[in-house]
Amino acid sequence: MSSVSCEFGGIRAVDEVSFGVEPGSITGVIGPNGAGKTVLLNLINGIYRPTRGIIQIDGQATNRLRSDQIARLGVARTFQSTEQFKEFKAIDYVMLGGFLQQCRSVFACIFGLAKVAKREKSEARRAFEALDRFGLGAIVNARLSELPYGMQKQVDLARAIAAEPRLLLLDEPTSGTTSIERAAIANVLGDIGSSDRTLLVVDHDVRFLAGQCEHLVAMSNGRKIAEGVVADVLADRGVREAYLGISEAAEIAENEEMA
């Protein structure tokens, strides 16, 4: 993306941000609250349209595409909260991930019921496997509203992975999760990372990101303040001041150097 801006009622939530995500890499985005990280994801997803600048996915400009068209290009994402899907059963929710493969057009989906039915079984199996990867095989029939917050996030991640996207956007995958859940999420991300998926991860847990990512982008007040290899970004003075307690950044940077 290059020089992307987005304004709401005169407030510039994202201000002239440019960066690229290499195919097959994992890139992290950090920044304090209100830095515009989630807005950035919403721009890539087509939920918001940039007021200026160009976003390209695989060389194709997406500024004028609707979010479902962008999803068809192979972009999937997780949500910060799955509150809006509380009626769904976990298995049905994860099956939404395979929806695009199962239903190419509305008409075919409703009238090609025999075909859809055939795929239904294989999709259900795939969804179960995706949940099982997180050790959630026991809760496939629970409604999302009955699950604790951290588990809802894992179910959401399973759904996004089931879409087999080329670009996977993760919006705070670890917020509100425990260290155990974090380890499970990190495991699964490691797996997808080693296949040739491209990931863009927004999170607060710098340690988590440092362990997962090759690249970091740091944002503050809608602007990009640093970009590069993890250790360099964490060592950056501006980043430390804006986001981290200085000591924590130093500690992580040191660990990185030792490794």
Partner: protein, 623 residues
């Protein structure tokens, strides 16, 4: 025992419940055919037609979440197209199909502009369609000289002629209803059903998942319109006459009443709702006509029966909206859950807890943990004894919270003394938020059950609604939905009629809020929202402040600022604070005492100074 496990398996299987619903329907039909008078069979046939129409309405409203009041309009379209086609010599079955096609076309024409927009546009467009279709119908009646309506003949299916006077029409309608419900339940269970459900829940998220909301809404509306139009065509054949004036707005509202009383999004519920709304007036009229004629009341009743009947819809509708918004289907679900709990209590409760346990088993963290498990510092009981000298401000004993059948809090004891900061730690699903909500009364609004005792300043407050606990000085800052996104920061303080001096004071604590006083709270960042929520709570002069997840989703710098502000405020006012936290270091920074919850119980408790951070990390989060 075997019988019991069979019964539990039956209750758990959606498919078995659905099959028994169908069997019940067939049984009722057979009983009616054997025992019922021709009058009641006629009423039953009418009920089936209305049920098909209501299922059509549920398609767009209950599944795709778009409000429509076009039932009568589409039934009128179907009835006129079917009736006129029949009068022009088209055989009955193709005439009914034509009715469906006409409904689909009108649905497409109305739906394309109305469904591009969100919200109530479809409701308004269908309301307009209501008046247009009645006007066109009555124009046709007068233009063709059929003032008393279009006369329609009988339906012929192969060698059979269906006559509403004989049971044959009713039998055919029953078969059709079974086919329709079978087809619908298949569609809803599969990919299309999921697509509509996502759109109903959130159109934005639907787009992100790759589902085009406009097209899917349109498809539901077209299908719904076609089905309703076919039911209108059937009504024409059944009553043998099509009259524009019978498709009134009142008639449209009847179907809204059916889907609400029955329960949006449930096929069984919709059929039940259609039955209740259709049959009750007939039962009522039958009963009143059987009253002895000498009574003065029977005279009054027989003249006023139409008014009573239409009033009855209103009362039923109101009663369900107020007490059971999910309709008859909601009652069914509640009964099913109650029965499941009765026969299968143990496993129902365990569903939630089974998850994290399995999770731990595969997690690398838990493997190295058991040997190094530290000895508990103090038990919950000892902690309370140590504090026993002073009267507790908030005292919770044996608190149990059940949320939709599952036990979230399983006997928690805790106390908060005046001027004390107490934190509840624990991993996700340990019952922290449920404990806090059980204390503040917020759970009452979420269909949950709370038992045990909650005493605040010597008074039992368990079961009091949030309004009452807030008035007593127990203020909750919730985890989510803590602000009003459409009000500005300044308006938040006006809503609670805060004193000017209090507002100045909180602005001094959070200068960032003063700078953003005029912006809408929905545009604030996560940290600023938390500041606003705390500031509003401060202005309400709490005796006990309950804060759910102070640090959730916030950057380290923002957490540091918030904890500092909260600490400073606490020191100055001496307010007692009960925090729920996942962030161990933030909790240790603030709290005098800690409780660690695990699977709905207090795992350990003690003074912060007695518990090392490492101990807490492993016992609270490493579990």
């Amino acid at each position: 025992m075997q019988l019991r496990s069979f019964f539990v398996a039956y209750l758990k299987s959606d498919r078995r419940i659905a099959v028994s619903g169908w069997l019940l329907l067939v049984l009722v039909a057979v009983l009616l055919l054997i025992n019922g008078s021709s009058f009641w069979i006629y009423v039953a046939g009418l009920t089936v037609i209305y049920a098909i129409s209501a299922l059509g309405l549920d398609w767009i409203q209950g599944r795709a979440g778009q409000v429509s009041i076009g039932s009568a309009a589409f039934m009128a379209i179907g009835a006129f197209v079917g009736g006129v086609a029949y009068a022009k010599g088209v055989p009955s079955i193709p005439a009914l199909l034509l009715a469906g096609v006409a409904g689909a076309i009108v649905g497409l024409v109305v739906g394309i502009p109305a469904l591009r927009l969100r919200g109530l546009y479809l409701a308004l467009a269908t309301l307009a369609l209501q008046f247009i279709s009645v006007a066109v119908g009555s124009w046709y009646e007068s233009a063709s000289g059929q003032i008393a309506g279009v006369a329609v003949g009988m339906v012929t299916v192969g060698p059979w002629t269906l006559d509403a006077i004989t049971p044959s029409f009713f039998i055919a309608l029953m078969v059709l209803l079974l086919l329709v419900t079978f087809a619908l339940s298949r569609i809803y269970r599969r990919a299309p059903g999921r697509a509509w459900l996502v759109i109903k829940e959130s159109e934005i998220s639907a787009g992100v998942i790759g589902i085009n909301p406009t097209r899917w809404k349109l498809s539901a509306f077209i299908a719904s319109s076609a089905l309703i139009a076919v039911s209108g065509g059937l009504l024409g054949f059944y009553t043998m006459r099509v009259q524009s004036e019978s498709f009134s707005l009142d008639f449209a509202i009847t179907f809204v009443a059916m889907v609400i009383v029955g329960g949006l999004g449930s096929i069984g519920g919709i059929i039940a709702g259609a039955t209740i709304i259709t049959v009750i007036p007939y039962i009522f009229s039958t009963v009143t006509s059987k009253l002895p004629p000498g009574l003065p009341i029977s005279q009054w009743l027989s003249t006023n029966i139409p008014y009573i009947n239409s009033g009855l819809y209103g009362i039923l509708l109101l009663a369900f909206l107020l007490y059971q918004p999910r309709g008859v289907a909601g009652v069914g679900i509640a009964v099913r859950q109650r029965l499941l709990k009765l026969f299968d209590g143990a496993t129902a409760v365990k569903v939630i807890q089974a998850g994290p346990a399995d999770n731990a088993a595969i997690s690398p963290v838990s493997n190295q943990e058991p040997e190094s498990r530290p000895v508990p510092v103090t038990t919950a009981g000892a902690a309370q004894e140590a504090e026993g000298g002073e009267a507790a401000l908030l005292e919770v004993r044996d608190l149990h919270v059940y949320r939709s059948g599952a036990c979230a809090v399983d006997g928690v004891d805790l106390t908060v003394h005046p001027g004390e900061v107490v934190a509840i730690l624990g991993r996700n699903g340990a019952g922290k938020t449920s404990t806090l909500r059980g204390i503040s009364g917020f759970l009452l609004t979420e269909r949950s059950r709370v038992t045990g005792s909650v005493r605040f300043a010597g008074r039992d407050i368990r079961g009091l609604p949030p309004m009452a606990t807030a008035r007593l000085g127990l203020i909750l800052v919730p985890e989510r939905e803590k602000i009003f996104p459409n009000l500005s920061v300044a308006e938040h303080f006006r809503v609670i009629t805060a004193e000017k001096s209090d507002v100045d004071e909180v602005f001094a604590i959070f200068p960032q809020l003063e700078r953003r006083a005029a912006s809408k709270a929905g545009l604030l960042s996560g940290g600023e929202r938390q500041m606003l929520a705390l500031a509003v709570a401060f202005c309400m002069h709490p005796k006990v402040l309950l804060v759910d997840e102070l640090s959730l989703g916030l950057a380290p710098a923002a957490i540091a600022r918030l904890t500092a502000a909260l600490k400073e405020y606490q020191k100055r006012t001496g307010v007692a604070i009960l925090l729920v936290e996942q962030n161990v270091s933030a909790a240790m920074e603030l709290a005098d005492r800690l409780y660690i919850l695990e699977a709905g119980r207090v795992e350990r408790a003690g003074r912060t100074s007695e518990l090392s951070e490492a101990t807490l990390m492993t016992s609270a989060l490493g579990g």
